[in-house]
């Protein structure tokens, strides 16, 4: 027993070490390309803003990270003035800089929730379908296909409408819409992983189906899933903000959220373009960063691309 344990632990440390080395290699390849470096920098900056806004909002000049501070004496948007209102103000007299900073935290949090939950459900469904095969495979994947057969934005609108107009419900709606994509993707990955000799070896040594999926298939599917998640996060931020823009967050107009900010400023967009310019730029830059990083990750993690 003791021998087996030490062997197991030793195997664990060496595999951990080799994995760490692999991550270092990936990072090095990633940083060799200027575009993915820029992407990584943008994404890190956004996460830093979100973290600071969550812990010490005053560090980035945010007074209240959880609610916009309206000024009903001057509700009409005023143009940017340095250093009072670097992004100007938006309706109703809200400082746009603080609003955008806090909104970045809110949007990032909910979008992360959506992709992580979606990827989790999707991976489980995809791996179970691919590994089990037969009727289970057919049933699960047809089920997935049916969910995929409705365009995601109208579908998310319907689900969010039924669940009620709140941010939690929008995220839940997006998870319901998003998991099938990951199920399809992990299914494809798991099908190829399943054919490996080490799966046969695990079977021969008496590991159960659950063990094989958990210990041997899922870890090998995770890396491509991670790339997919990073490619999707930029899109999910956009779709999330689109839903709130369309009117799903109208319950709380003082919530710092990028889509709500654009929607609040909508009627002033012509007279005061900055009210839509800055929140939109915040989404655009994040999406660009995430896409650059995702592309870079895909190249870096694809062994065929390595020299």
């Amino acid at each position: 027993m003791g021998l087996r344990e030490t062997l197991g632990r030793k195997g664990m440390t060496t595999s951990l070490l080799s994995r760490l080395q692999q991550y270092r290699l990936t990072l090095r390849i990633l940083l060799e390309s200027p575009s993915s470096t820029v992407g990584l920098a943008i994404v890190l900056a956004y996460f830093a803003i979100a973290a600071i806004d969550y812990t010490y909002p005053s560090l980035i000049g945010v007074q209240n990270a959880y609610s916009l501070i309206p000024d009903f004496t001057n509700p009409v948007p005023s143009p940017p003035i340095w250093p009072m209102h670097p992004f100007g103000t938006t309706f109703p007299g809200v400082d746009l800089y603080q609003a955008v900073m806090s909104a970045i935290r809110v949007d990032l949090w909910y979008s992360l929730l959506v992709v992580v939950a979606g990827a989790l459900i999707g991976t489980i469904v995809g791996v179970v379908a691919a590994y089990t095969g037969g009727y289970v495979d057919d049933a699960l994947m047809r089920f997935t296909d049916i969910f995929l057969s409705i365009p995601y934005l109208p579908f998310a609108i319907a689900v969010a409408f039924v669940l009620g107009r709140a941010l939690d419900n929008i995220s839940l709606a997006l998870v319901i819409v998003w998991w099938p994509l990951y199920a399809r993707y992990s299914y494809g990955q798991a099908l190829s992983v399943k054919e490996n000799v080490y799966i046969e070896a695990a079977k021969a040594s008496g590991v159960g189906s659950g063990g094989i999926m958990l210990r041997h298939i899922i870890p090998n599917v995770l890396t491509p899933m991670f790339v997919q998640v990073s490619l999707d996060l930029g899109t999910v931020v956009q779709v999330f903000a689109a839903l709130t823009f369309v009117g799903f967050a109208s319950g709380n107009p003082l919530l710092p959220e990028l889509g709500t900010l654009i929607s609040n400023g909508f009627q002033y967009a012509v007279a005061a373009p900055w009210v839509v310019l800055f929140p939109g730029l915040a989404i655009l830059i994040f999406a660009i960063g995430m896409n650059l990083l995702g592309d870079g990750l895909r190249d870096a993690l694809d062994p065929r691309g390595r020299t």
């Binding site: 039924v162 369309v246 999406a287």
Partner: protein, 345 residues
């Protein structure tokens, strides 16, 4: 093809399930006709009998499906239209179709050649520019782009010389007021203003309606084109590295023939595979673009339904979007067979 029927059933199942989250009130709500002389309480009782609301769910589903197949999709009540859902769809869908079809055509005739040229002149300035354009298209929120276009081309904010296009709507209201074929923002008989104006012999209305289409179609096209451009470029590059292209060049064919005859058709296949997703993007984009431009279509109707708490509109829009997507994908599959004869066999 074979997947069509289960998918259609699945769509109705999803919509039915959505209407039953937290009880059957939503289903009943979407079938209440406020224009009927029958009191709401009586209608509710009739609906409970009609949909067998006291029976198990699967029984209710079949009664609902029966009503649905007979063309009874319930009632909608929004600020832009109040009445039967199916009527609302026949009024609003043509407008949406115009946007979607124009954007698809433009995507095909701009996106595909751009992708081909950009891969033929790989790493040239033209290629770099195309890549940046396509990349930005991926990342830009469509409704935000629409707002920027409005600020640039419908106001004098940037330059008064750029103030060319109307801000929103489908037509200048003053131009069509008093027409007996244009009532409450809806034109008759086809409900598509650019066609109806020609039927009624009004080229000025036609020109005005066309001007109103420019910015929405441009926004939608740009949003959809990005992915087509990207896939076309990479697929063309793969194709140009194939042996049969080298053979074609070696036997002395000029570059034009090699690209137009030998490479492009084969490079189109991956683009076609992507078309299903493109259509999904198009239908989603339509919602946002119509919302920003106040363009009377299914998307605008569905956002109005959200704001008015109108379940009939949401259900109707979901069904029609789902159906469009399913049938568009079917059309793509069939076209695929023509493009790649191997698939037919």
């Amino acid at each position: 093809m074979l997947l069509l029927i289960p998918t259609l059933i699945g769509l109705t199942l999803i919509v039915f399930t959505i209407s039953h989250v937290g009880g059957s009130q939503r289903l009943v709500g979407s079938y209440i006709n406020i224009h009927s002389t029958v009191p709401v309480a009586v209608q509710e009782q009739q609906l409970a009998v009609r949909f067998h609301l006291n029976d198990p769910l699967y029984v209710q589903y079949f009664y609902w499906l029966g009503a649905f197949l007979q063309g009874n999709w319930g009632y909608t009540k929004t600020s832009i239209y109040s009445g039967a859902v199916l009527d609302a769809i026949t009024l609003f869908f043509p407008n949406t179709l115009v946007l979607a079809v124009l954007a698809s055509i433009l995507t095909a005739i701009i996106g595909i050649p751009l992708g081909v040229w950009s891969s033929v002149r790989k790493d040239s300035l033209f290629d770099q520019a195309t890549r940046v354009i396509s990349f930005a298209g991926y990342s830009i929120p469509l409704y935000w782009l629409a707002l920027l276009l409005i600020i640039a081309f419908s106001t004098s904010d940037v330059c008064s010389c750029l103030n060319i296009f109307p801000i929103s709507g489908t037509v200048s209201v003053s131009l069509v007021s008093g027409f007996n074929w244009y009532i409450n923002g809806i034109s008759y008989p086809t409900h598509v203003l650019v066609i109806d104006s020609l039927i009624h012999g009004r080229p000025d209305v036609f020109a005005d309606a066309l001007m109103h289409l420019v910015l929405p179609v441009a926004t939608l096209t740009y949003g959809v084109m990005a992915s087509v451009l990207r896939v076309m470029r990479s697929s063309m590059q793969d194709t140009l590295n194939q042996d049969y292209i080298r053979t074609a060049r070696a036997k002395g064919l000029d570059e034009k023939t090699v690209i137009n005859v030998h490479a492009r058709r084969n490079a189109l296949i991956p683009v076609f595979t992507l078309l299903g997703y493109t259509i999904a993007g198009l239908l989603g984009g339509v919602v946002l673009v119509e919302e920003v431009f106040n363009y009377l279509g299914i998307g605008y109707w569905s956002t109005q339904a959200i704001l008015n708490g109108d379940i009939g509109g949401i259900m109707g829009a979901t069904i029609i979007f789902g159906l469009s997507f399913i049938f568009a994908n079917l059309a793509v599959d069939i076209a695929y067979g023509f493009l790649d004869p191997r698939i037919r066999h």
